[in-house]
Homo-oligomer: 491 residues x 2
Amino acid sequence: MSSCIHHCPSHHYQVRLPHRAGAGSLGPPRPAAASFALPSCLRRAARARAMSAEAPPGVAPAEPGPSATAAVLSEMVEDAAVWCAVHGLVVGDRDNPRSGTVPGVGLVHAPFSLLPARLPTSVWKQALELAPIFNELVDRVSLDGEFLQEALSRTKQVDDFTARLLEIHQKMMAVNKKEDIRLGLHRSDYMLDSETNSLLQIELNTISISFPGLGSLVSELHRNLLIQYGKVLGLDSERIPRNWAASQFADALARAWSEYNNDRDGRIVSVVYFRAGYAPNDYPSEAEWRARLLMEQSSAIKCPSISYHLVGTKKIQQELAKPNVLERFLDNKEDIAKLRKSFAGLWSLDNEEIVKSAIEKPELFVLKPQREGGGNNIYGHDLRDTLVKLQKEQGESLAAYILMQRIFPKASLTPLVRGGVCFEDLTISELGIFGGYLRNKDRVIMNNPCGYLMRTKVSSSNEGGVATGFAVLDSVYLTDEVAEFQLTTDY
Amino acid sequence: MSSCIHHCPSHHYQVRLPHRAGAGSLGPPRPAAASFALPSCLRRAARARAMSAEAPPGVAPAEPGPSATAAVLSEMVEDAAVWCAVHGLVVGDRDNPRSGTVPGVGLVHAPFSLLPARLPTSVWKQALELAPIFNELVDRVSLDGEFLQEALSRTKQVDDFTARLLEIHQKMMAVNKKEDIRLGLHRSDYMLDSETNSLLQIELNTISISFPGLGSLVSELHRNLLIQYGKVLGLDSERIPRNWAASQFADALARAWSEYNNDRDGRIVSVVYFRAGYAPNDYPSEAEWRARLLMEQSSAIKCPSISYHLVGTKKIQQELAKPNVLERFLDNKEDIAKLRKSFAGLWSLDNEEIVKSAIEKPELFVLKPQREGGGNNIYGHDLRDTLVKLQKEQGESLAAYILMQRIFPKASLTPLVRGGVCFEDLTISELGIFGGYLRNKDRVIMNNPCGYLMRTKVSSSNEGGVATGFAVLDSVYLTDEVAEFQLTTDY
């Protein structure tokens, strides 16, 4: 790891900090009213500092000496945890049995990275640029009912859930149902692949997008920390992009409501927002399916419509990555090139050559079940075993999965705060860009990025959303490290 | 209690709600994702409704029927608890052992009243009017060092803590220390006495004023609840006065800082804010006393100065209530009349006649120790026993207490929410008006009320701050019930 300390674009500051000060041993932590264990990262930081080639040899630190740095970071942890408590950056504490059952009790600060993740400005701009193009793509694909039905025809043989969704979609096609006003609240997730030096899309979410609220808050947390401590840390709070995800999504919903009511009078439901409905568990009985159908049949704006929902499936992601498919939906060649550049390798299990490669080198692939919801991806030995088993069965069950190129983001040592305690671990980061899209017939009312979500995950875990305990909330610190990514222009 | 339902000025809405709807039995609670026990208050409400003389007999409810009302209130509890979680209206959960030790963990919504407390607009205006007068009084009294030393001379014989404060004050007098810039952040607490129909001051706090932050938030909570549910409840969110206590106090501190730096250059401490220092426990060793002295000797603006601190003692409150004492400090006769009208009976234990009365009728008095910090007041039998014991001793220990007229606020049934659960209890309310004062020599820069804090306490408890578990945070709902209080004009 040490060779990556200065160059990996996603790394955090804990490993940079020491280089700003001279060598020296770490003093004892300041005695605080609230007793914090001294983060082990600070001790490691001191060691890294002692080894740093950047620290001018023999020169005493001009600003924060070792113990000052330790004290500052310890103070930051405390300030940050308090900030979370008084600004609603909280989640339910799994250790509290009432949490999640009774609102307002058993709260704990959301797990967060103490400092924002470094990201080259060029990559940031690239990700923002992609948001309206993906928004438009979703809309165009949603209009091609035949494509959706055809692309998912094999998936539905093996996946009852997708089959039910397709059934509703089919009914809408049968009555030629048109959605004049279409609202999309999406999030496209990316990682920076160290092998190809490129920003690669992990997935595109089109239903029940999580974290616009907490994501906005953690950016504010980091800004506030850097406003207070930026000088001593040598960091500029202005390099954290503003994040209005929550209010921009709310604005999109309000504009949809307003657009709908411009044309109609009376007290009817104008916008249906799906906070659930993306997983089989959300439909415990036929009643929920009837409700879903009823909503789809109504004239209300659905966020998402059944079509938008289906466009977000992994199978469609994989279909769109095939040669010449984007061209069916988009006209602008530059846009198409930008999208394609962000696509990782995606294959169906019909592709025998790729399946063979994956069995040989499972470490280069991820096997993804067609359905939504984190925590189900298959890696390594399990991937190999599953593929071998599926090959033997030779049935339709192959259609329940897609294979994806495994992305290798560089890992960095990051101070993470969970349960009020700071600890350091090797992490990788995943950048989500929220996108809002609203159109009424031919008039596009909104099509833009709507803030972002950085999730930083302990790199030893193959996968994991923040909610499953493997990751922390994070934000972005823009850097000028452009050179490395200009290499990827011709990719 | 039932006779008080329509008239007591401090009562809450739970007992009014039913009168808006027709008679009928209460339906089952709506099944909610989060399981809330149906507040017992709702069942009682239904009974009260059935008995109500105001409900037009035989007329079906025009708006929310009984079960609708139950569902609405149950929904309100849930919404309110969630609002608290995401807006920082949280406190440490005493059931969590890490809470209070590690910031950001073991959080729970602050206990609150589900609906704001009714208060006649006339009383509200009276309380606001008093704020700048009390601010000015504190300032004037603080300048009369001899008065403070003299008034507290006997107290210091029996109270080491006051003696130490007076010692510092004496040292400042000896060197003729002047505080050109004086900053006061105060809170004057009142109750509405049902015996005299008047607003009576409980105490005036001049150091480490609590709850400007949570107080502001609970007003916002109630406003938001009424914006959402006001129509169905027949309540108007605009009747909750805006509460900017936290930002107004912050503004006062910033203006003090700015005022100080107008005259000086360089990096020195300009404002010292005391978040502690008001209780003996805050001075575990001589080091803290040396620090207090050092700060007092410095040219920094102290909030509060030692003089302001001493003016807030109960003994000074009692001295100021003596005839002709206010006239020593204030010129404006109307101001003096307004202050005096808000004074409850206050006596030193030198007053043998009053001590005799208190032993005979202890229920009409409160015995207050001289020192700060809730939970130490003595009532009833204990008051009698203590007075008898003190009389026998006949020493200086009499000076450690003052006697105060016991105030009898009307009690009302109020829905309280604690730990996510709503329950109903008989409560009384105490109104605190924050006041901010800043002057530089002859120039008064700020002198105004700075928001408010309503604390609603279970009336069976004689005393108790919110933090001690006997009370909930509350806000104000202004009513037009003026008549009752016009009676008190000549009091």
